[in-house]
Amino acid sequence: MGIIITKDLRKIYSETKVPVYALNGVSVTIEEGEFTSIVGPSGSGKTTLLNMIGGLDNPTEGEVHINGVNVTTLPSGKLIDFRLHHIGFVFQSYNLIPVLTARENVEFIMQLQGVPKKERAARAIELLESVGLSDKIDNRPGDMSGGQQQRVSVARALASKPRFILADEPTANLDSKSTAELLDIMLKMNEKHKTTFIFSTHDQRVMERARRIITIEDGVVAKDEF
């Protein structure tokens, strides 16, 4: 049984005269340990699908089950808790907390989880070392390059020991070298710890490394290739 199951997901925006179907009946199952890319042209619905899976947005119809829990019915407070303990996020613009250092950004998630101080400090350092940032531990985001910030955000996403990581166009703002480094790190995490990664992307370099590619077009799954 998949750790993520979407059932006939629909997202309809009715603010305009003509309703827009961002998702129009998407049903996918993602198994543990997958390294999956969701691809498609701009406006195809890939980010919307990622937001639904991450519990950041509610579908108009359909359900999202994560580890057997129907997250579409969870109240706001419980959904926040669910995200905290089950899902890691990597955003396109890194979105680290600017006033915290790299270590503090990684620790922040664990602190929200109630992990004791010593334990979270040790894990934060371990994670930053694993993404190759042992020399940037006490740097603030403003003092790091885009690639380095994105690596911190991967470490942050891993900090909560999530069942899977959702990465929305994680390489969109990175140069080739940083992209390659980031993908290496994520693949290593995937292979070593069986962490499930799901990307939305239209970056060819990411697609080439993905083991499964789900293509979304006009809000429906057009192709699903392993």
Binding site: L56, D57, S76, I80, L84, F89, F108, Q113
Partner: protein
């Protein structure tokens, strides 16, 4: 909690200029409010203090019915036993026995109606500092003939030290009161009424003049702690409720109290306007701060931060700004308040004359009470907290996806 403080504190210094501007707006508001309020309360205190010292005392004991009908016939009989009871009442610091009535004073072709105050020289000086007002001659002394008149009256009558003036009035039970008294001292009051229409003489001399030996029209009482006014009044009222009436300065100086209350309302209205200006200043900053950080709020909620915890960080930021502004404002205003408390502003020109017409000395004294300083600080903090409601609303209604997209 410590971590939230850390984030809030660092957030404050992310945009130093904005934080400094906000703190400065609170600082100047507190500064203005404290200076204005200190001057206002200082003036009220001074008005009450001078009225109390120069005339009524904090409490007065009269013969029953005297306040309604200020006649010597309603005076009280003062003896050692009554004096003992009054002095031994808790919170009484000093007393001034007085016999007051009216008389015509005449010298040469000049005549004028005046108030005659018979008093005990050293007690009067202790209460009202009368001796300090002496500009010519000698101060009163016990059981000595001679009168003390104010400068304005001396000028009107064209008398000087050593001249004898005629006093004519009505004494106890309608007897004629007449005497020839030597002017032994001239005092100066800044208040025109007092400077033109008063005459002081020794209490015993006044009792003889009015044919009322052993009688007093009032015993003015000064208190150790004016805050215990009503408890002390109650104790004094129990001494001889059948023959004595006991009144507080608030009952006797009704017009003064009404003036203060009226003026205080206009002062509070001004404070209110200042608070509104400050409130909008703080709200503006918090509004900008909130709009700027919507995306960041969205991310924090997305990764698992509860909305109330996020609100707590914003609350800490607002409170810290408020506290820093309030403390800085208090620190900045205190040297001014302390200086003007010890060296009241001396008014000059028309302003001084206008003030003197209200029987007040032309000075602007400042008050220095921890109570009102603390109160202003609390009010500004409350305003800051009220301004923080806006980010709470934004966070509670935040649509995470839109916030992350920067919408």
């Amino acid at each position: 909690m410590k971590e939230y403080f850390k984030i809030a504190w660092r957030n404050l210094w992310r945009n130093r200029r904005r934080t400094f501007i906000t703190i400065a707006s609170v600082l100047f508001a507190i500064f203005l409010v404290l200076i204005m309020r200190s001057m206002q309360i200082g003036t009220y205190d001074y008005m009450v203090e001078s009225a109390v010292r120069n005339s009524t005392g904090y409490i007065q004991v009269h013969g029953k019915g005297y306040w309604e009908d200020k006649s010597l016939d309603n005076s009280l009989i003062y003896n050692e036993e009554l004096e003992e009871k009054i002095r031994n009442t808790p919170n009484v610091s000093s007393i001034v026995p007085r016999l007051e009535s009216f008389a015509l004073v005449s010298y040469g072709v000049q005549t004028k109606g005046i108030a005659v105050i018979g008093t005990v020289a050293d007690l009067e000086d202790k209460a009202s500092g009368l001796q300090n007002r002496l500009v010519k001659g000698n101060y009163l002394s016990e059981n000595q003939k001679g009168v003390l008149i104010p400068e304005g009256l001396a000028d009107y009558l064209k008398v000087d030290i050593g001249d004898s003036i005629v006093l004519l009035g009505q004494g106890y039970h309608g007897v004629t009161a007449a005497s020839l008294s030597e002017v032994t001292g001239i005092v100066r009051f800044l208040q025109p009424d007092m400077n033109n229409q008063l005459l002081y003489m020794d209490l015993q001399q006044a009792q003889e003049f009015y044919a009322a030996p052993g009688h007093l029209t009032s015993v003015s009482i000064m208190l150790e702690n004016p805050g215990r006014l009503y408890q002390t009044t109650k104790s004094l009222s129990d001494i001889d409720p059948d023959n004595l009436e006991v009144m507080t300065w608030k009952e006797m100086l009704v017009e003064l109290l009404q003036y203060i209350e009226g003026d205080n309302i206009s002062g509070l209205f001004m404070l209110g306007i200042l608070y509104v200006v400050v409130g909008f200043g703080i709200l503006g900053t918090i509004l900008m701060m909130t709009m700027e950080r919507r995306k960041e709020f969205g991310i924090m909620v997305a990764v698992g931060m509860k909305r109330y915890k996020l609100s707590l960080i914003i609350l800490i930021e607002s409170v810290v700004i408020g506290i820093l502004g309030v403390l800085a404002g208090i620190l900045l205003s205190m040297p001014f308040i302390v200086y003007f408390y010890h060296h009241p502003i001396q008014l000059t020109g028309e302003w001084a004359e206008a003030v003197m017409e209200y029987n007040m000395e032309p000075i602007l004294p400042f008050a220095m009470e921890p109570g009102f300083i603390l109160n202003q600080g609390i009010v500004v903090l409350i305003i800051t907290l009220l301004a923080s409601i806006y980010p709470f609303l934004v966070i509670s209604r935040l649509k995470v996806v839109n916030a992350i997209k920067g919408k």
